[in-house]
């Protein structure tokens, strides 16, 4: 019973970007400390910064300085998120060789976020991808609201699949499915992956879940059955949801790693070091983070 699962999974740590972007702004030095601590955990990838307009997202205003100061670990692949060509140029100037761009599957969400239709964003991405390639970077397209939109509700998986078709045709190296506000459920994951994996079995795909409604690990468990081996997660569960004050953010990296390791799936991450990094993240934001494994410790930690 159950599909054959992958024996290795690649985690991208997004706490420094998606996490801190949804917290009150923190000092540059703290961001650098956090990125460096995460880079020492054995994690393979870190989303370090986003090059967005400081008026739109003041939390990321110091992206250049953060990236200049980080002790770049040669074993870690770092990436940056960019909203447009201007951001892409900054990322390339900084030397990033992995860059992500975002488009929302939901037209309403895309308009509210960046004041244009999904179709217009796709046209821009079609220009951005070759520019990134020419600049020496890969181009990942993140499809936000892939599992539901806070304005529109359900998002038709066929619409998401059509966006995949388009960005793959336009040269994207990887497609990420963003569960932007935690509307993903095992059913929605299954429905979407059934379609897109059949149409694009060889395109690298990454899943980005928020644990807003408790389904984060159940969603990952479902995606593992489809052979997906790339996941975003945020140290300590850093971050939140702009549409639901007080709600959880990204699925906590410790919880993901803890479950995967227990299943015999390697991540390369030292869970103890990761928990230390999560404690640092708590100090930096000055509040308790929602990660259960941070609170209770791994299941292997017995009491005497």
């Amino acid at each position: 019973m159950g599909a054959v699962l992958p024996d290795r999974v690649s985690i991208r740590e997004v706490g420094p970007r998606d996490g801190l972007q949804n917290e009150d702004p923190v000092p540059t030095a703290d961001k650098v400390r956090l990125i460096d601590a995460l880079s020492a955990t054995g994690v393979g990838r870190v989303e370090a910064v986003s090059y967005v307009h400081p008026k739109a997202i003041p939390q990321m205003a110091d992206a250049d300085e953060v990236w200049r100061t980080v002790a770049r670990n040669p074993r870690v692949r770092y990436s940056a998120l960019v909203p447009n060509l201007r951001g892409a140029q900054r990322a390339l100037a900084g030397g990033f060789t992995e860059v992500e761009v975002v488009v929302s599957a939901s037209d309403t969400h895309n308009r509210r976020n960046i004041n244009r239709a999904t179709e217009e964003s796709l046209d821009e991405i079609a220009q951005l991808v070759p520019a990134l390639h020419e600049g020496g970077s890969t181009a990942e397209v993140i499809i936000a609201t892939s599992f539901g939109c806070p304005y529109e509700g359900d998002v038709d998986p066929k619409r998401v699949a059509a966006i995949v078709d388009r960005v793959v045709a336009d040269g994207a190296d990887r497609v990420a499915f963003g569960d932007t506000t935690g509307m993903g459920t095992p059913r929605r994951v299954r429905e979407l992956l059934s379609i897109v994996r059949e149409r694009h079995p060889d395109v690298p795909m990454l899943l980005h879940f928020h644990n807003t409604r408790g389904t984060g690990l159940a969603n990952i468990l479902t995606a593992l059955e489809f052979g997906i081996t790339e996941y975003d997660a945020s140290v300590g569960g850093l971050g939140g949801c702009p549409y639901a004050p007080g709600a959880s953010g990204n699925v906590a990296t410790e919880e993901v790693v803890h479950m995967l390791h227990d299943m015999g799936i390697d991540t390369g991450i030292d869970l103890d070091k990761l928990i230390e990094a999560a404690r640092l993240a708590e100090q930096i934001v000055g509040r308790e983070l929602p990660s259960g494994v941070l609170r209770a410790g791994p299941r292997s930690r017995t009491v005497s």
Copy 2:
């Protein structure tokens, strides 16, 4: 891909017992209000009280009064937890027709909890089951630490299976597997159910998960594949873990119901009424409860 899942699941709401037992004591009237609110949600079963010694668990000292005062809803099956024959007699005197007794699969946990070996508890349960039957009640045996012990660590599924063999032979009507401190993971659920379902395909089995390390819904998803249709859950995620201060308690009923309904699995529960009951539970204990669906609302709740 994936097994055929059940189309209906029976939830037992354990917030009034397992939840409140791990909170600071609350007034009798509040317990009654909570039970009555839960009974109006459409939930099929409520674990109402436990008949334990008030010195051991002062939170349940008013069990008789609570049960006398509750407006018993004829559509709800109520149950009581008892530790021994004395408790069973109180439950029978109160008119309960569904009673649960507990034994720990881990010998150390059983000794720390009730100062005797697992084997001795099983001998006592062999006496208790016929006494409950004679008194007009069913007898459910809850096997605590089925997925791990906070003292011993891993618990061999074969040991749990041997306990199932024993209590089924002794007449138990149902076996519940308690993930007492949230050490359950999809792997452990799969390992245990593979064994016990094969040996006892016709014995009603119930799963009781704590969300201590974030795996609650992933565990239920795994158990659904084995055809398990009975689950405990606690309104709002009421409760906690005595071994990990600040950690989450039982899996939150709203999160379970939300995921199941999205999968097309009926529970009979009105999620909006359940969320109202969770708000009442928050008022009663005077703190924010960890349920994500309580915080963020169901995924169908769009913003305007």
